[in-house]
């Protein structure tokens, strides 16, 4: 019966080979741990404290899901398959070595069919690795995607990994060639190579000696790999899982943390390296430089200086300067590669980077924290300053009188109830754009008319409503956000209502995730309410539309709050045929308006995100309508169809337009 033989072909005259192997490995691992500790120690030394030790079982599940199964890595097919082929094969090979150690020292079980399966598994892992390596080589040296950074470390790491696996399979096949065991066929790759060695006609002695040399080299390469882990691209196998383990679990993405404070309650506005938390600094070292965030970023795509990957790597390079003793922990964060005011202001907080990151880096928290410091320092552009001043004074970014907030209701056949005076079932939070933006007034009236037709008992707060503050908070004006929240909660407390409905995903997000309501009531996006009314038969369609349409997922509805189905249900209920864009659902491209961008000077832009999005839709076959579910989207895409010249062929319609037409 075939059985695993420890150190086959390794001479024992120098003592047991296991002493050599364990000495080398423990030494390498020890040195690695010390080097890792020296690096990791700085995260806590430089960074502010922040507790990430809650909910350990969830953290372990995250480690399995994102670290071992690599769910995020698999979001993209080519790099996903490439990476898991390499990673999973190494998991199996590592497990194989561990099992062999158990067999040798604790429990002998690698014999007979178990041993044969063991050999097969390791051989298949080798093949899997080679597939991954070929994909990696082709990608890195032939297709060369722009998002990858090309540093010698990657080549170094890849060469080492390939050598390790080739070393393993070669020692294996040399043993097979000499031994020719009965279960040789269970090592298909090894046996193929073994037959190659046998075909050379080399003697058993030559093959056994060669085996020894290859084995020694293999051992040394493994040790070298471990020793050089912190300088090669493999360092992410330590920092990535750590970053995943310590991911933010308390807050949903749609909830920003308040301004941090010192022990005695003074606010901390982050402008220096040591004002970041250790976790934010760890983000820098955990970045695998895969560039998925860069590809997904609407600001980067539009040609702005912001690159989420470089922003995070900017933190790493500052830490490197600290480590090398060139600077202290109080290094200013801005005016460094990747980190600039311009980059910070370009962010639309769309959340695409966060959704793509395989190691769960939290870019937006850091961006908003840095913006808060700029706001406190008054370093904001003139247009944003006007918007914030208006928001502070009038409760809307347009600088219009609060008394005109419900002016859009003029011209409605049926008056709209004042929810601050009358009891209503639904409190409609209209939001700034739907209230004040001139070309949206008709749409807002249409929404009211549809609600009225459906027999919904609703009202609005008239001048009692202020901007909900979602984007005020994301701009970094935390004090103004708090003030708006106080005003709005006070106004809403005066109303008697069962649920809140809004057409604005931004308002929806902050009401749902950030407002400290004393009493929780349902908060609905109008797509949810419409879907519900259609399901209940309260909205019935007598005029099916037969349009071929595509739907743009608003960031704050989809990616932030997972509302994907309801708008689609509404679209399909109106009789439209829905054709999806390539970037859909949580991959949807931002329109470019979020995070306060709509209030800022556009700056130098190559291709607006909204234009890129319209071009994407225009490439769909025979799609005539571009459906949106966000007032800001309406303004952004109405402009974009004009500037891209698709005004005639692609019409921008709101969800409510479809419902209104189909009723």
């Amino acid at each position: 019966m075939p059985e695993y033989v420890e150190y086959w072909g390794i001479p024992h005259q120098w003592g047991s080979p296991s002493i050599l192997v364990y000495s080398v490995m423990f030494l390498a691992a020890g040195i690695l741990l010390v080097r890792f500790f020296l690096k990791a120690r700085l995260w806590w030394k430089a960074g502010r404290s922040e507790s990430r030790w809650d909910r350990i079982p969830t953290r372990i599940w995250y480690l399995i899901k994102y670290g071992i199964i690599q769910a995020r890595v698999l979001r993209q097919s080519y790099p996903g398959v490439m990476h898991v082929a390499i990673a999973w094969s190494f998991f199996i090979l590592f497990l194989g070595t561990a099992l062999a150690t158990i067999h040798s020292h604790f429990f002998r079980f690698l014999s007979g069919s178990v041993f044969s399966f063991y050999k097969l598994a390791l051989d298949l892992a080798t093949i899997l690795f080679l597939v991954g390596a070929v994909l990696a080589i082709y990608r890195r040296y032939v297709t060369k995607p722009e998002r990858l950074t090309y540093q010698p470390q990657f080549t170094w790491t890849l060469v080492l990994l390939v050598l390790i696996v080739l070393g393993g399979i070669t020692t294996e096949s040399l043993r097979l060639a000499v031994e020719q065991p009965v279960n040789a066929a269970w090592s298909p790759a090894g046996w193929l190579l073994a037959r190659g060695f046998l075909a050379t006609g080399a003697s058993t002695e030559v093959l056994t000696n060669l085996h020894l040399y290859v084995w020694l080299v293999h051992l040394l390469i493994v040790a070298t790999t471990i020793l050089t882990l912190p300088v090669g691209s493999l360092f992410h196998v330590l920092t990535g899982p750590l970053n995943i383990f310590f991911a933010e679990l308390e807050r949903p993405t749609g909830t920003l943390p308040p301004t941090p404070t010192t022990a005695d309650g003074a606010p901390i506005y982050v402008s220096k390296l040591n004002q970041l938390t250790w976790k934010q600094i760890l983000n820098g070292d955990a970045c695998t430089e895969c560039g998925r965030c860069q590809d997904a970023c609407p600001a980067h795509g539009a040609g702005y200086i912001l690159n989420p990957k470089e922003l995070i790597l900017g933190i790493r390079s500052l830490m490197d300067r600290v480590k090398s003793g060139q600077a202290g922990y109080d290094l200013p964060l801005l005016d460094n590669p990747g980190l600039s005011q311009e980059a910070l202001w370009a962010c639309t907080t769309c959340g695409a980077c966060i959704t793509e990151c395989p190691v769960l880096i939290e870019h937006i928290d850091t961006i908003v924290e840095l913006r808060r410091d700029l706001v406190i320092e008054g370093s904001i552009d003139g247009e944003l300053q006007d918007a914030l001043t208006n928001l502070g004074r009038y409760g809307n970014s347009f600088g219009q009188s609060p008394r005109k907030r419900a002016q859009w209701t003029e011209g409605l056949e049926q008056p709209v109830k004042d929810a601050t005076r009358e009891k209503v079932e639904y409190l409609w939070y209209v939001g700034d754009y739907a209230s004040y933006y001139p070309s949206l007034a008709e749409l807002t009236r249409k929404t009211a008319a549809v609600f009225q037709k459906a027999g919904i008992d609703f009202g609005v707060m008239f001048k009692g409503e202020n901007n909900a503050g979602n984007d005020v908070r994301r701009v970094g004006e935390e004090g103004l956000f708090e003030m708006l929240v106080e005003k709005n909660i006070k106004a809403m407390e005066r109303c008697d209502y069962q649920a809140i409905v809004t057409t604005d995903p931004h308002t929806y997000n902050t009401l749902l995730n950030e407002y400290p309501f004393p009493e929780k009531r349902p908060i609905l996006h109008y797509s949810e309410l419409l879907a519900q009314l259609i399901e209940e038969g309260r909205i019935q369609f007598s005029n099916p539309l037969n349009f071929r349409v595509t739907y743009h997922d608003p960031c704050y509805l989809g990616r932030y709050n997972g509302i994907y189905e309801q708008p689609r249900k509404v679209i399909q209920a109106t009789g439209c045929e829905l054709v999806e864009m390539p970037r859909t659902r949580d991959r949807a491209l931002c329109c470019g308006a979020g995070g306060g961008r709509i209030w800022m000077d556009e700056g130098n832009v190559k291709e607006r995100a909204s234009e890129s999005r319209i071009r994407e839709a225009a490439e769909l076959d025979k799609v005539d309508y571009f459906i949106i579910a966000c007032p800001k989207d309406y303004t952004m895409f109405q402009d974009a169809v004009k500037t891209t010249g698709f005004e005639e062929s692609l019409k921008v319609l709101d969800l409510i337009d479809l419902v209104d037409k189909a009723i």
């Binding site: 406190i376 300053q385 502070g392 600088g399 219009q400």
Partner: protein, 256 residues
Amino acid sequence: MTEIVVIARLVPDLVEELEIAPSGKALDRSWLRLIINEFDNHAIEQAIIIKERSGAKVTVISPDAEGVEDMLYSSAAKGADRLIKLTGLDEEKKPTNKSLAQSLAGLIKEINPDLILTGVQANDDLTGDLGPQVADLLDMPYVGYISGVSLEGSTAKALKEYPGGLLAEMEISLPAALGIQASEEPPRYVAISKVRQMMSTANIEEISAGELDTEGEFTIERMYLPEAAEKAEMLEGSEEEIAAQLTSVLEDLGLL
């Protein structure tokens, strides 16, 4: 330490439609919303810029009105050192510049400033004579339409705007009063949390305006929104037709 006094006023916010009070002689204050006079806002900014550049103690004085505390705290958040609210004014009746100037001059005299800055005019005071009157009472030179000031020893170097886009750089010996048209940099944004912090730390001094001298005061007989004039008559048609119509109109008016 250089002492700078800024006189800042709240004026009707034109974002809200103006309503006339039932008396027909004043604005309806229940509809009125007040905002800092834009030029005064620039005067505050200019004072803070001088303070940051060469050091100074900045005092902001404002006649009491609804919302004046917010405005003063906001000035403190920008960097003003002392906040004074001028109290005891008739809420219903706007004081004349003359009486206000007398009251302010008495107060400012005690501060003994090197420089007085105020907006060159206001939307409810296009004459803009508050600054000159204060300067006169304190026996100081006054220059208006200033868009940038720096202090050098006992003189101020100021940029004065003239019509036609002309600028003059002038040297004024201190103490002096300047009417600010624009600050060197646009007024800065001050974060709400900073203003709120000032609300709990900064102190607003309340100083009585005292008895106002009403001598020589005018009274408003009637205040009203401009009445829509008759609509213009548009002449339409081809050039010849328009010319013919125009001739007959002029004939009717007895001009031809």
